[in-house]
């Protein structure tokens, strides 16, 4: 295996590993659930994508053909990650999980919970501001 290929694979692996680690650090460090939802769903998916590409390049060089299996895993994860995030956000709203104190537009969570339009609340907010 040539040096360049090895360098590319290693760089992709380390890039992916760093992103997976950052996603997990975010999961632990961030302060409320809705903010925590941001880190793992995205950083981890990107990191896994990088590791999958590295593995694809490696297998191509070991066996001489591109195995499309990994591409399928990436595709599957990219399609399913938003669905999981969405259903978890819905569950959190249903159980009235607390938002961080300094979250802006906190009132929207109540209308989002019962799937109503936000308009009335917005007007109220503006009126409050004017007062």
């Amino acid at each position: 295996m040539s040096f360049t290929i090895e360098l590319i694979i290693s760089a992709l692996l380390i890039f992916g590993g760093l992103f997976v680690l950052v996603g997990s650090i975010g999961l632990l460090r961030l302060q409320d659930f809705y903010v925590r939802l941001h880190a793992p769903t995205k950083a981890t998916t990107l990191g896994l994508g990088a590791i999958l590409i590295a593995s694809m390049v490696f297998m191509y060089h070991m066996h001489g053909y591109v195995s499309i299996n990994e591409l399928l895993i990436t595709l599957f994860l990219v399609i399913t990650a938003p669905v999981t995030a969405h259903i978890l956000a819905k569950a959190a709203m249903h159980h009235r999980v607390k938002l961080m104190e300094r979250t802006r537009n906190k009132h929207l969570i109540e209308s989002a919970r019962i799937q109503l339009q936000p308009e009335q609340d917005n007007e109220k907010q503006e009126q409050n501001k004017e007062v």
Partner: protein, 170 residues
Amino acid sequence: MSQISRGISRVLPMPLHSVSLLIVWLMLNSTTSLGHILLGSLLGIFIPLLCAPLRVPTPKIKRPLKALTYVFVVLKDIVVANIEVAFLVVGPMHKIKPGLIAVPLDLSDTLPITVLASTVTMTPGTVSADVSADEKWLYVHVLNMPVDEQEVIDWIKQRYESRVKEIFGC
């Protein structure tokens, strides 16, 4: 002529699904041998026939080329913006100012809205939380809200929603 097309649509109620089933089957086995192509075609014919009664009417993709460019735009956004979020996560916590916004939707059907909501979730910094029951508002949680919240709404509307609208032609 119409009889022939009706006959085809009876045997293949969802041609796009049949083709994608065949492609996924070949990808799963990562081969292009004749036997697998035959088996995949059989699956591609029979599974849609079984699933046809479950189908929900959805708008068709009007412009496949636009859809392809959309995928690339989103991929680029995922990579670029993920790095920003990574720095935010590792940096000091008090810098993060989360917020909620309600984005007014111009889209009219479930499939385009689902595509838009998934894109919003995959692009870092925003997670779509819910859609109002009348499908006119998308609630989005923003990780780091700029001072002017209209900026985020405009970004979502111009960069993603207008493209989704073009793709589905609604």
